[in-house]
Amino acid sequence: MPNKNIVRLAIPVAVGGLLLTGCSSDDGGSTIKIAYQGPLSGQNVGLGENMERGVQLAINEANASGDYDFELEYFAADDQGSETEATAAAQSAIDDTDVVAVVGPAFSGPTEISAPLYGQAGLAAVTPSATNPTLTEQEFGTFLRAVPNDNAQGAAMADFLAAQDGVDSVMVIDDVTPYGEGLSDVAVASLEEAGLDVQRQHVPQETVDYGNAARGVVESGVDALIYAGYYEALGPFTTRLDEAGFDGIGISGDGSKDEELVNLGGDATEGWYLTCPCTDATEEPGLADFAERYEAEFGLAPGTYSAEAYDITNMIIEQIAGLGGDPSREELYQALAGVEYQGLTKSFSFDDAGEFTNEAVFFYQVTDGVIGYLGGTEELIG
């Protein structure tokens, strides 16, 4: 009996193997591909698509401009924002020999797993959004962070609150994601350093009711609240805070700086401060123009990190052109690591660990249902 059963494994497994091999053939081409690794399906697809469109827009414009004598192609590496899919996603980009650089990975968790693979393959991975500070400490090889890490934002929030009159106590709430916890770690440390009274809470982003959390904030009687998390959660949270009667200062990070925050939170978001290492699209003429082109291409306004992804892609394209239009992966990484590039959102340059050297953080505030630009940290705190 057992033998017969073992035997019955044979056929299907063999068939599976054949199918696997059958799919593995890929034909080489002469085009150059730029990949994007991020969540293109699954829960966090919204954020992933923001960046993907930025990358696509840059590629389309480069091809249409006629300035370059090479054809660019977009390569999607969907990791679903999940660690389990991270190796496969990264490997799909690595395996395609036409891919010369990767924009991404978008999230810190998948980066932990994908970055070593990129390092091994010598393929530059420039993330627009993975902000966990420990990533650049691990010497992945080709990992470049084109965004200030959470340290800068957390410190800026703390400085800002410490400079406000009448703020003695602060509640820091994170959304129990790597992003939120990283940000709130830094914020808590900086606030304590500034001599403020700090309380810390964890409210998972998938929570079914923010009533308890809002009540907790109001009961604690704090003067200000830092929310380290994304707009999807902050929207309903502000509503409940408003209902519970919270009248202190509210401040959140770049994960919440999205038009959608106002749609989800409504009037309750009024007066909330938002920090972002990004400059404002409406302030900068170049960005306003970008927003128009983006909308014309995709039929909707750019979202969080769209412009950053666009910038990074353009930076990569410029380096490719600078290397004669047919660089090896290694060459391109070297060029990117030493880059000085002025994008729409900020100027890009990296230190030896691949960390972003420009630590400027900007402040925004929701006024009259619009996220308005306030200015850089220095301007505000003085």
Binding site: S24, D95, L300
Partner: protein
């Protein structure tokens, strides 16, 4: 309560039903048309546009305007017409086709029967298969190697373990990935990767037995109080257990590293004095470890299935009351199945953690438990070959579809596939013979076996 059937009898439901049958839309023909049209509209949505932000009706509008609905409705009406008016012709055609196709199929079956029928051939074929499996990863791209290890390999191992719990012992376990997580975190802990220092640092190979014991204990701790519960209750309790393990991994940051996880974990390494080897980023050596474990585990488990233990599991699955009356210690055997499944899951966890060199809670969400369960049932519960193939296929499919359909829709198609599969082939791809019989008997109303171990009201004897 005893009065209920009487009340029901007094209400002239059947008479009313008969009256209503007279209306035209109640007639089967028109009903079928309605169903087909509904299906067409649904298919138009399934294959249509993606929705966009801030415009709720974008996709709906596009789907109706863009003609997608028209095409599908046309197809539906055509199918309906053919079905209603040319049914005989189609049936004749199909049977003729079947006859023609039957010949070659029979030859294939006969050949394979001859090939696998004899003992010598059988071992030869198995050896050849093993050889194919050993060299398989060397013939594919690194991408498929990664998929093979991180997804297919992991889930195949999990499915073989889950098959013991659900396929053989008939217990519905929705928290299987919890043990996978325990295994992975054990590996992280004993190799010194977590914020907490272990008493001694172990090599990953030595962690495997430790993880097995840990998962056994965890399985028994969870199982002992809950295995007396009925099938559905067990499902929710195991689901809850999974959620708790996940929450602990996520929130008990002092020990587990919290949401940011633990990185830079030790990978497998072997040092025999005269020869040493370190596993690195290359996926293939992990594949060979997985393959080795899967082969060993399958051999061990098949022995178990065809022993008194496997028979006792079948007895419990089919009729728990009768099994107990026959002297089978039902709780003990269920616990055994539970623990065996848990420890298999744990081993898979250790290998996975070593391969990824990174653990965080998001790799162990409840969704994966549900996926693992669907893989087992899809392949054919209780049948080891079925489970292997089913899992490999279903894990492979989304990767295969990656470039062929919108990646966002992959799980939608997976869901639809599961439903269709359960309607047309509930026994799974390659069902076990026992299970197939049980299904048939259930269909004929012969047996009360319901594949969940306990049948409703079965306790009443």
């Amino acid at each position: 309560m005893s009065g209920v059937p009487a009340t029901a009898a007094r209400t002239p439901l059947s008479a009313a039903a008969r009256l209503r049958k007279g209306k035209w839309y109640e007639q089967p023909r028109w009903r079928r048309l309605g169903a087909l049209l509904a299906l067409a509209v649904l298919m138009a949505q399934v294959t249509g546009e993606q929705g966009v932000r801030n415009d709720l009706f974008h996709a709906l509008e596009q789907n109706f305007k863009g003609g997608g609905v028209g095409v599908w409705v046309g197809i539906a009406v055509a199918v309906w017409l053919i079905r209603e008016f040319f049914d005989d012709a189609v049936a004749r055609g199909v049977s003729r086709l079947r006859e023609r196709a039957g010949g070659p199929a029979r030859t294939v079956r006969a050949t394979s029967g001859r090939l696998f029928g004899r003992r010598g051939y059988r071992w030869g074929a198995l050896g050849a298969l093993l050889l194919v499996l050993i060299v398989l990863p060397l013939t594919v791209t690194t991408f498929w190697q990664q998929v093979l290890v991180d997804q297919i390999g992991v889930y195949v191992m999990l499915a073989v373990g889950l098959n013991v719990v659900i396929g053989w012992a008939g217990m519905l376990d929705l928290g299987f990935i919890a043990f996978f997580a325990i295994g992975a975190y054990s590996s992280a802990y004993w190799t010194g990767g977590l914020p907490v220092e272990p008493p001694v640092e172990l090599n990953n190979f030595l962690v495997i037995p430790v993880a097995v014991v840990t998962c056994l204990v965890a399985g028994v701790l969870l199982g002992a109080p809950t295995l007396r519960l009925r099938g559905d209750y067990l499902a929710i309790v195991t689901l809850g257990f999974h959620e708790i393990v996940y929450l602990v991994a996520k929130n008990y940051a002092e020990f587990t590293g919290g949401t940011r996880g633990a990185n830079g974990l030790d990978r497998f390494s072997l040092d025999l004095g005269f020869w040493s080897y370190d596993w690195t980023l290359d996926p293939v050596p992990y594949y060979w470890i997985q393959l080795g474990f899967v082969v060993v585990i399958i051999v061990l488990f098949l022995r178990l299935e065809h022993s008194r233990v496997g028979r006792a599991w079948t007895a419990i699955r089919e009729d728990e009351v009768a099994a107990a009356a026959t002297g089978v210690n039902t709780v003990r055997f269920k616990l055994l199945a539970f623990a065996i499944g848990a420890s298999t899951s744990g081993v898979a966890g250790v290998i996975y953690a070593s391969k990824q060199a990174f653990v965080n809670p998001e790799q162990f969400v409840v969704l994966f438990s549900i996926l693992a369960l669907s893989y087992v049932v899809f392949g054919g519960m209780g049948s080891v070959p079925g489970v292997l193939v089913g899992t490999a296929f279903l894990v492979w499919l989304p990767q295969f579809l990656r470039d062929r359909v919108d990646p966002q829709d992959r799980y939608m198609y997976l869901g639809a596939l599961l439903v269709i599969m359960m309607i047309y082939r509930p026994q799974g791809l390659l069902p076990s013979r026992r299970r197939q019989r049980e299904l048939r008997m259930a269909g004929e109303g012969v047996s009360g076996a319901d594949a969940l171990g306990a049948r409703p009201g079965g306790e009443r004897g």
